[in-house]
Symmetry: C2
Subunit: 197 residues, 2 copies
């Protein structure tokens, strides 16, 4: 399924095609090679002082008991994500490696890295959906995330599933157009609130 952004101007196809579904094919797995390709894309993302503060915890059928645990971290509202064959937890290192000073760009840089990951996934025909709704304390305990590292948004990854089996409300949500505020509301020229054009 495609749900291309209704952009006001033409943008790169990869950016327009990226979209976060809630329907994944539980039977179509993602290969380690595909995962490594997406991670390679994340690897070349920019970061403050080239710190590369991103870490990625991957959960899939290769280690099924940890995939079960990752699914167990999801809130009830994200139960749909249990259909995804892969869950990924990006984690941010909060300090610089070289001097242990706080890195105020840690989350910002991890956000860029996961977008690189997701765009590469899009290029491979995969879909990703990032979620705030999961239990971070559980995730820390289950997966041994050390102090000084902060879990970010849980990512469901896989191929698109079928709309047919969905209840009507969920089906409508999946096919509803994507929406955004206009550029004029978030971009200013020269000072806060100053119009760009």
């Amino acid at each position: 399924m495609e749900k291309i952004a209704a952009t006001d101007r033409p943008i790169e196809s990869l950016l327009a095609r990226r979209w976060s579904p809630r329907v994944f094919d539980p039977d179509r797995t993602v290969s380690t090679e595909e995962l490594l390709t997406c991670l390679e894309a994340a690897r070349w993302s920019p970061s403050c002082f080239n710190e590369q503060p991103w870490r990625f915890l991957i959960f899939d059928a290769m280690v099924p008991e940890t995939l079960d645990k990752a699914r167990d971290c999801l809130t009830e509202g994200n139960a749909w994500a249990k259909q995804a064959p892969v869950l990924i937890l990006p984690v941010a290192r909060k300090t610089f490696t070289r001097n242990n000073n706080p890195n105020r760009f840690a989350e910002y840089d991890v956000g860029a890295a996961i977008l690189s990951f997701v765009l590469q996934a899009t290029a491979l025909g995969l879909f990703a959906h990032q979620m705030a709704g999961y239990n971070t304390a559980k995730a820390r305990a289950y997966f041994g995330i050390p102090d000084g590292f902060e879990p970010q948004a849980m990512v469901a990854l896989g191929y698109f599933g079928s709309l047919d089996a969905l209840p009507e409300a969920q089906r409508s949500r999946e096919i509803a157009p994507r929406t955004r505020i206009p550029v004029s509301e978030f971009a200013f020229r020269g000072g806060w609130g100053q119009t760009l054009t």
Copy 2:
């Protein structure tokens, strides 16, 4: 100039070509149409609850006095960025619009949006370089950034300049290969420190 990432696996060309130079052509301007195209790309980035916490302050020759002020915010180490025809300051809204609760994904989502911006810029033949080194207090005061919004990394944007006029040390830095830690050091399967392959 191209400085394509030496990837361990093939990744999308756009991601491999993105690179942060320190040499911009001061005489080649970036059009408003180009800026709007990059902002349109940022617009379609994903965000927690579709909050879209990103704001962008654009400084260019259309409002020269504010471009001067933005340049004045840069640290001495980033003096090279004064050659860039455009400076951009991404700003994160720290709370959700709907309820004013803290948004722990504000920076993470703005980081993704600026990467979308930068990738679109790359597609247009532009280059961008993000910088931590600027005076945030000055920027707040100069540009009227309200409480509850947090300035992120200042971005230099423009076309690539010429290496010829550079001092040897700076020239060497520009042509040095890009480096990253290997995927095996930042991606784990099933638990912290567990090898992926």
